[in-house]
């Protein structure tokens, strides 16, 4: 049997898993029947690890021990400005790791970010395995187009920790386009407008002869559905304060309910014009009385509350179109991705902006995972009919005199690519040059990210500007960056390969992967015992409910009270077994209780005759 490859959309807010079955990509629902799973991980008061919907539902009441949106942090270094900003914004504790990496502290235990993402990936793996009835080892995972090498590597490491071999990392817009173009003959430029739960991305792709090329990408990592929810919450809190002079935000339980209700109302308003937010017994007045919140919310009001957020996305779209060097009219199709694009106002404003109705043929929550599954299947079958071309999300270059950044490869350049430039020495008798390889968009080198450095020595002693050094940047199809410097006169050269790192060492990754494997075996062992326990519990309940009828039936039988005592003893034994969690004892009692129950049923039936 051929091994399956699953496609995982590892989202900032929600994740989704898909697989190709009988030639068609399908999304796999989780145990609760939902096709997406919140990318939320928590450790409960009892020490249980919670992932997905359960974790999300206690995110406010257990805020300090609930990690969410870790995708914004993954692959970043402790000193990065983004990490500093996020630290101020989240209720959970972010701490420095041993390699200047970022870790999340939940219930006084520090977890690396690939580890937290691995918990989500592991959940998705489990969802797929439950559905397929077989173990899944390989996956294609999607990441935002702007993710740098470190972030991509960290995502790959998360896969390894989760017990998955991530055979390919692909860009989310590419995956969306793949899914959209599946089974169609598409030629031309398409725009992928992705408004998810926590982030917004716009990408322009060029599809030609089955080749998908990302020509530009832009976005905002702090703009998504949660911002829309916040607007509703603010409106509700303000109204309640006006009416009762009580601030609902002070009570975590009230806030959790508000958050859930706001999200639900927002989703409802995509299909109805008005909805009612009804939260009975929301907050205590302090006089042994609880107040209700009951308020209608119209679609119009929601649009009024969130209009500026949609406008913000359109400004970013304009930038991406300019970056691609095209006009809006050059775009053939606009594909909507992310749950927020279900909002009619978003569809309307996007349609107005691009001058064409956005495509509604794809499911916005599922399209990325479906594309990843398609890519996975095609890699497995080794089909050449689908070629994905990615672009480098950031400009690459070196630091030059004066602390400036000299770009060699511009962002959004299709990979693989190579580019060279000749530099000269800056002072007399200079015999060596230091090459600082950087990534970023700022003209000041220190504002960009340092990828690596090396020194080219043995240069001829000469006047400044006389010795020429050629620097060559090369990016392979796998995204690996190599930089070489060559003395044009002597041919002497030096080079480095920039290896992306997630901030974890190989041994750490291995140890985390083993821990996860062990954790999963333990979880399955517990589940197995729990299943048996539930079966016994059910039999005991049934037997106890029949006990009065049995007693009545036995009154007139030869067995009399002895029989009843024996039956009671069996029930007592079963109860004792329930408390022990001993699988052998439970199995024994399951069969004993089965017999007892059968006997009870026969007795009652006979007595009714």
């Amino acid at each position: 049997m051929t091994e399956r490859v699953i496609g995982i959309d590892l989202g900032t807010t929600n994740s989704c898993v898909a697989v190709v079955e009988d030639g068609s990509p399908v999304v796999i629902p989780n145990r609760g029947g939902y096709k997406t799973t919140p990318s939320v991980v928590a450790i409960s008061e009892s020490g249980r690890r919670l992932v997905g919907h359960i974790a999300k539902r206690q995110a406010v009441t257990n805020a300090e021990n609930t990690a969410y949106s870790v995708k914004r942090l993954i692959g970043r270094s402790w000193t990065s400005p983004a990490v500093k900003a996020i630290r101020e914004m989240v209720p959970y504790k972010i701490v420095e790791g041993p390699h200047q990496d970022v870790r999340v502290e939940l219930r006084e235990q520090a977890f690396s970010l690939p580890e937290v993402s691995a918990f989500v990936l592991q959940e998705m793996k489990r969802v797929a395995e439950d559905h397929l009835g077989e173990e899944v080892r390989k996956a294609v995972v999607t990441v935002p187009a702007y993710f740098n090498d470190g972030q991509r590597q960290a995502t790959k490491d998360a896969g390894r920790i989760a017990g998955l071999d991530v055979i390919r990392i692909i860009n989310e817009p590419t995956a969306a386009a793949l899914s959209y173009g599946f089974g169609k003959e598409i030629e031309g430029r398409i725009a992928i407008y992705d408004l998810g739960g926590g982030t917004f991305d716009i990408s322009i792709l060029e599809i030609s002869n089955g080749v998908f090329e990302v020509v530009s990408t832009a976005g905002d990592t702090f703009l998504g559905g949660e911002d829309f929810d916040k607007r509703i919450i603010d409106w509700l809190v303000g109204g309640f304060r006006k009416e009762h002079n009580i601030d609902l935000r002070i009570d975590m339980m009230a806030l959790q309910r508000l958050k859930d209700a706001a999200e639900k109302a927002k989703c409802d308003l995509s299909s109805v014009r008005e909805t009612e937010i009804n939260l009975p017994f929301l907050i205590s007045t302090g006089r042994a009385q609880a107040l209700h919140l009951q308020r209608p919310l119209s679609r119009h009001k929601l649009e009024e509350l969130t209009h500026d957020l949609v406008e913000r996305t359109l400004r970013i779209c304009k930038g991406a179109i300019d970056d691609a060097g095209i006009e809006k009219t050059d775009i053939l199709e606009v594909i909507l991705v992310g749950g927020m694009t279900r909002m009619p106002k978003v569809q309307e404003m996007v349609g107005e902006f691009f001058g064409k109705e956005p495509c509604k043929g794809v499911h916005p929550d599922e399209v990325v995972a479906l594309g990843a599954a398609i890519q996975g299947a095609s890699l497995l079958e080794n089909t050449a009919d689908m070629l994905l071309l990615d672009v480098t999300p950031h400009s690459l270059g070196i630091m030059v005199m004066g602390g400036y950044f000299h770009r060699l490869i511009d962002r959004n350049t299709t990979i693989p690519t190579a580019k060279s430039h000749i530099f000269t020495t800056t002072r007399e008798d200079q015999t060596s040059v230091k090459i600082l390889v950087m990534q970023g968009e700022n003209d000041r080198a220190d504002e960009n990210e340092l990828l690596g450095e090396f020194v080219l020595t043995g240069l001829r002693k000469a006047l400044r500007g006389e010795v020429e050094v050629e620097v060559t940047f090369e990016i392979s199809a796998d995204g690996i960056v190599s930089v070489a410097a060559r003395d044009m006169e002597t041919g002497q050269h030096q080079s480095i390969t920039v290896t992306a790192t997630s901030g974890l060492t190989e041994s750490e990754i291995m140890s985390m992967a083993t821990e996860q494997e062990e954790y999963m075996v333990t979880v399955r062992a517990d589940e197995s015992v729990e299943k048996e326990r539930q079966a016994v519990e059910k039999l005991v309940d049934e037997a106890v409910s029949l006990m009065p009828s049995v007693a009545k039936a036995l009154e007139s039988s030869a067995l009399g009270s002895q029989g009843l005592e024996a039956a009671r003893a069996t029930v007592d034994q079963a109860r004792a077994a329930l408390a022990t969690k001993d699988p052998d004892e439970l199995a024994k009692m399951k069969s004993a209780m089965g017999r007892t129950l059968q006997m009870f049923k026969t007795l009652v039936k006979d007595s009714e005759k």
Binding site: T61, E135, M253, A254, P280, F281, T522, R533
Partner: protein
């Protein structure tokens, strides 16, 4: 057939692994593999364990939350030792509770060991300096009765720890001693405060019967007792009766009854001004929690039994409102309690109350 056996062996192996019985698990999985040599899962599990055994890696510790608690040593079990004994049956709990109850240390020292309650402020109330020393030391024909611990000995009521049964000596000079509140009147006030009538009735009967002679198990009025002393004693008695009712019901498998008695006890403790019931409630929390869980069933999934209008017209506090909002027909009791953010005891109690009021049902 072979498939079924291999499956069973894998499951049993997993259970053994979960208990840390690595060899046992390995044996079972090897057996499964012998039955079905192509069984991938068995192969993986066998190699998984073998690798670890070769590497001499210790058996992985189970998550602390699921770690089985050691059974308590019955010899060292005290009144409050019923904390954390999850593996005993309800019948065992009941038996232990009765045993523990009979060992209830009513001495000053015993009370001091227990959880501090309002007791700590009582000496101020209970040491009327107007009562002369000899009067304060006077005993009735009763056993020594503990009074709440005195944090400041000089101000406490000095009651002898053991007083021989004898005719009480008369006070040397007349002194005003507030008369104890008649049992019936006290009972009425307790019922008004929400203490179950049945429990109050039992205490009244006991007290009335005990008036002329000593009773071995219950505290009889002391001549120097204030109404507060009596209320304390009675509340403690009510508490004991209700705790016994909880454990009896649990032992009989009458879980709803057990939960109801537990709720009655807690209500009585909340409404009673005296710390008497509180002293009984605190050490019995595990039993009470067990009663609520037995009533709910840990793995059952609660759903709403009434419509929104009925819920809205009911009277709940905001914490109950929060718990109700979490009920969506998918989360089992255990998970619901884990995510409630309310603490296990309170969440279980609230859900049990909702179940008894038929606001929710557990399937």
């Amino acid at each position: 057939m072979g498939g079924i056996n291999a499956r069973n062996l894998i499951e049993r192996g997993l259970a053994s692994y979960g208990r840390g019985e690595l060899q046992q698990a390995l044996g079972l999985w090897r057996e499964a593999l012998a039955l079905e040599p192509k069984n991938e899962e068995a192969k993986k599990l066998v190699s998984f364990v073998e690798e670890r055994m070769t590497a001499k890696t210790p058996v992985p510790p189970r998550p602390s939350s699921r770690e089985p608690s050691p059974l308590p040593d019955p010899d060292t079990e005290a009144w409050n030792a019923d904390e954390g004994t999850p593996s005993e049956s309800d019948g065992q709990t009941a038996a232990r509770l009765v045993r523990a109850e009979s060992n209830f240390d009513d001495s000053e020292e015993g009370i001091r060991k227990r959880r501090p309650t309002l007791v700590s402020i009582l000496p101020e109330l209970l040491a009327p300096s107007t009562i002369p020393e000899d009067m304060r030391r006077t005993s009735t024909m009763m056993e020594a009765v503990p009074l709440p611990v005195a944090t400041q000995p000089t101000r406490s009521v000095a009651v002898p720890m053991a007083v021989p049964v004898a005719v009480a000596p008369q006070p040397t000079r007349p002194v005003f001693v507030p008369p104890p509140m008649p049992a019936q009147a006290m009972g009425k006030s307790l019922v008004e405060e929400g203490v179950p009538t049945e429990a109050v009735q039992e205490v009244i009967t006991r007290q009335v019967e005990a008036q002329p002679v000593a009773t071995p198990s219950s505290r009889a009025p002391h001549r120097t007792d204030t109404p507060l002393d009596l209320a304390l004693s009675e509340a403690r008695d009510i508490g004991k009766i209700l705790v016994r009712k909880v454990s009896d019901a649990l032992a009989a498998g009458k879980n709803a009854e057990a939960a109801e008695a537990a709720e009655d006890l807690l209500l009585a403790a909340e409404k009673s001004p005296a710390p008497g019931i509180g002293e009984v409630v605190e050490p019995s929390r595990t039993t009470l929690e067990r009663a609520f869980f037995a009533h709910l069933g840990r793995s059952g999934v609660p759903t709403m039994a009434v419509d929104d209008a009925t819920v809205n017209s009911s009277s709940f506090d905001h914490r109950t409102g929060f718990l109700l909002s979490c009920i969506d027909g998918t989360l089992p009791i255990d998970t619901l309690i884990d995510i409630s953010g309310m603490g296990r005891f309170e969440a279980a109690r609230t859900l049990s109350r909702l179940l008894r009021r038929k606001i929710i049902k557990v399937g």
